[in-house]
Each structure stands twice: as structure tokens, then as C-alpha cells.
């Protein structure tokens, strides 16, 4: 039992470590946003999109993905009388697309962000409902790592308990944690 749980803790821990580090660092980036600045680099381009490939925003997006190497999730679709605008989003690159029917042309503003902004955006990817495969893979790995975090916490608790000389101080620390956090969780929930 001990050996099996120790291995489970080790395997899940080493698998999750880079993801956990990303979530930790990105939390710091968000909580202390004044410490970190990361302005996007922008560039603009124009692309001809024939009318037959521009029945709606999604078909324009598909055309730009296939012909112009863009990618990501289609977001923020706005339909106007003379066309539409939308965003093609990946954590590191945002394409703001404005399509004009009269000109049969898509104006694309490309925003490329750096490490800090990518980490912030990765932090917010969740779920398996995205159109983009990469986003779904991030979502799936978030699920694995999150469930892993629960298992890591519980196996870690067991592994600590098996070290007899650490029990006394461990119980004190655990009680400090529980007596601090659980009443807060309950008191905040009750008061609304």
C-alpha cells in the first residue's frame, strides 16, 4: 500500500510539475500585474477573400486558416451590414479580423504577446468544448492535472502520516491550515 501510494504520488507529481509551475507563476503574474508588463507586438495585413468563401464569419475564418496560416478559436463575432468582424484566438496570438463584403477583403490585425501574457491566458483555458484542438488538449490536461492535484494532496497526507517523527509538527501545521481556511470558507459562504 505505502509503496503503491508513494509511486502514485511520484508519478503524478513529476507529470504535473510543469503545469503546476505554470499555474503558480501565472497566478503571480495576475495577482501582481504591476510587476509585469507585456505589451503585444502588432502588425496589420489585408487578404482577399472571394464572396463565395465569405457566407459568414466562420467561412472567412476557415479561408484565412487554410490560405494564410492563421489558427485558433473563433470568438467575438459581430455581424454588420457590410460584413463582420471576429477574433481568431490562440494563447499567444490574437488575429482581429474585419471582413468587408464590398471590398471582398479581410483586414487582419495580428497581436503577438510574450511569455507573461501567454501564461496568463493558458491559466484561463478550461473545458473540452472548444472548436480548436489545441485548446481542447489544454482543457483535457487541466482536468488530468487538477484531478492529479487532489490525488497528490491525499497521497501526500498519507505519506506524511507514515513518517512517525513528523507527526507532531505535521498535526500542528495541518490544524493551523484547517482552522484558518475551513471557517473562512464556511463564514464567507453563509454571509450573502
Amino acid at each position: 500500500m505505502y509503496r503503491w501510494l508513494r509511486n502514485t504520488h511520484l508519478f503524478l507529481g513529476v507529470f504535473s510539475t510543469t503545469f503546476v509551475l505554470m499555474y503558480g507563476l501565472s497566478s503571480v503574474f495576475m495577482a501582481h500585474n504591476r510587476w509585469f508588463t507585456d505589451k503585444p507586438r502588432t502588425s496589420e495585413s489585408r487578404h482577399a477573400v472571394p464572396a463565395e468563401a465569405a457566407s459568414d464569419a466562420r467561412s472567412v475564418a476557415r479561408h484565412l486558416m487554410e490560405r494564410n496560416g492563421m489558427g485558433g478559436e473563433i470568438r467575438q463575432i459581430n455581424v454588420r451590414a457590410d460584413g463582420f468582424s471576429f477574433v481568431l484566438a490562440r494563447p499567444g496570438t490574437f488575429h482581429e479580423v474585419t471582413y468587408s463584403r464590398p471590398a471582398a477583403e479581410a483586414r487582419v490585425k495580428r497581436n503577438v504577446v510574450g511569455f507573461v501574457a501567454i501564461m496568463r491566458r493558458l491559466h484561463h483555458i478550461a473545458g473540452l468544448w472548444h472548436d480548436d484542438l489545441i485548446m481542447n488538449l489544454w482543457g483535457a490536461l487541466l482536468g488530468v492535472v487538477s484531478f492529479g492535484l487532489i490525488v497528490l494532496s491525499l497521497t501526500g497526507l498519507y505519506l506524511w502520516f507514515k513518517i512517525h517523527q513528523e507527526r507532531r509538527i505535521g498535526v500542528v501545521l495541518l490544524l493551523v491550515n484547517l482552522l484558518y481556511s475551513l471557517p473562512l470558507i464556511v463564514l464567507m459562504r453563509m454571509d450573502s
Partner: protein
């Protein structure tokens, strides 16, 4: 050295156990939830409070007065960027707490406030708790204490993700399965990071 790092890893884990479980629960739950816009939204609980708008006050002053009058738990005065006019040109703002949010509309002609209370489910509550960071404006002691715990736990998470692999490398670096799991985790992260840029 290894014994000390093991103690640090263990003690940090014990001190932040609750929030590690919160992180794990919300991450797991979010994985199986539909897109944000497709999630069911319970109808808000609507209530009214008497409130007379004092003469010659700015919108910000009026809403500050409304906030003082309502005494909504765990809220702060509304920041300027949350102040809006609705479709009927009524002044409105939203107060967020870990339990959900309350939209307050000043019905100036009726001398009352309309309150639409949107209460979070338990999963949403945990999600809000995990996002209640040191940046969060708070006048409530509970929120302040939780912010500090959250801040501590974030640094804990970073430290543990460094001390964990150190302990592996210091004790069983040749463990084949550990190498495979480490390679799979780090490799998939790096590949996804590179293609996400």
C-alpha cells in the same frame, strides 16, 4: 539538504492542503462544464430597497451612497469602471463577492434601488475563492484573510513544484516510470506551449 527540502515540501503541503484541494476540485469541475455562455443561469432573486438620491451628487457618489446604505456583505465601493447606465438610462453597478454578484440599479424616480442577486453554486463559489487574490479590493476581514491564504498558497505551489522534482532526483533519479511520467508531462506542456504561441 535533501532532508530539509523534504521537510519544506511536506510542511508547505500541510499548510496549504485546503486550497490545493480547492484548486483540484475546480479544475476538475471546469473540465466537464460547457462553455461559459451555455451554462445554465438561475434566475436572480429580485428585491427592492428604499433609497433617495441626494441632490447634486455625481453617479459615483450616488452609488457609493447606495453601497453604504445597502451594507452588502463582503463588498467594496463600486470602482468607477463598473458604473453604467442601463437601457432605461438608470444608473447601475455590480457588486461581486465569492458568493456571486448583485446588480444594483438606482430607480431614481421611484426613490428605490433594485437588487438582482445572482448566487453562485458551490463549484462557482470555489472558483471565485481561487480567484480572490491579493489584488482583490476588500474591506471585509474574511476576504482579507482569504487573500493572504491564497497568496501564500500560490507561492507554496511554485515552491512545491520545484522541491518535488528535486526530491525525486535526490532519491530515485533512475526510476524509469518516473522519467517517463516526467517526460510525458513536461514534453506535452512544451509542445502545447510552442504550438499555442
Amino acid at each position: 539538504m535533501t532532508a530539509l527540502i523534504k521537510k519544506i515540501h511536506m510542511y508547505l503541503g500541510l499548510l496549504s492542503l485546503t486550497i490545493l484541494l480547492v484548486f483540484g476540485i475546480i479544475g476538475t469541475a471546469e473540465t466537464f462544464m460547457p462553455a461559459y455562455e451555455n451554462r445554465p443561469r438561475p434566475t436572480p432573486q429580485v428585491s427592492y430597497e428604499n433609497f433617495t438620491v441626494p441632490a447634486n451628487q455625481t453617479d459615483e457618489q450616488v452609488l457609493h451612497g447606495a453601497w453604504e446604505s445597502l451594507k452588502l456583505p463582503m463588498t467594496s465601493p463600486p470602482p468607477r469602471f463598473t458604473i453604467r447606465r442601463d437601457g432605461d438610462k438608470n444608473l447601475t453597478t455590480t457588486f461581486y463577492t465569492p458568493n456571486g454578484y448583485t446588480r444594483v440599479t438606482v430607480l431614481e424616480k421611484e426613490n428605490r434601488l433594485k437588487l438582482e442577486d445572482h448566487r453562485n453554486s458551490w463549484v462557482q463559489y470555489f472558483n471565485s475563492l481561487h480567484a480572490t487574490t491579493i489584488r482583490h479590493p476588500a474591506r471585509d476581514l474574511r476576504i482579507t484573510l482569504w487573500k493572504l491564504y491564497n497568496e501564500f498558497s500560490v507561492w507554496t505551489l511554485i515552491l512545491m513544484s520545484v522541491t518535488g522534482p528535486y526530491l525525486w532526483l535526490a532519491s530515485r533519479p533512475g526510476h524509469r516510470w518516473a522519467q517517463i511520467f516526467f517526460g510525458a508531462g513536461t514534453g506535452s506542456f512544451l509542445v502545447l506551449y510552442l504550438v499555442s504561441r
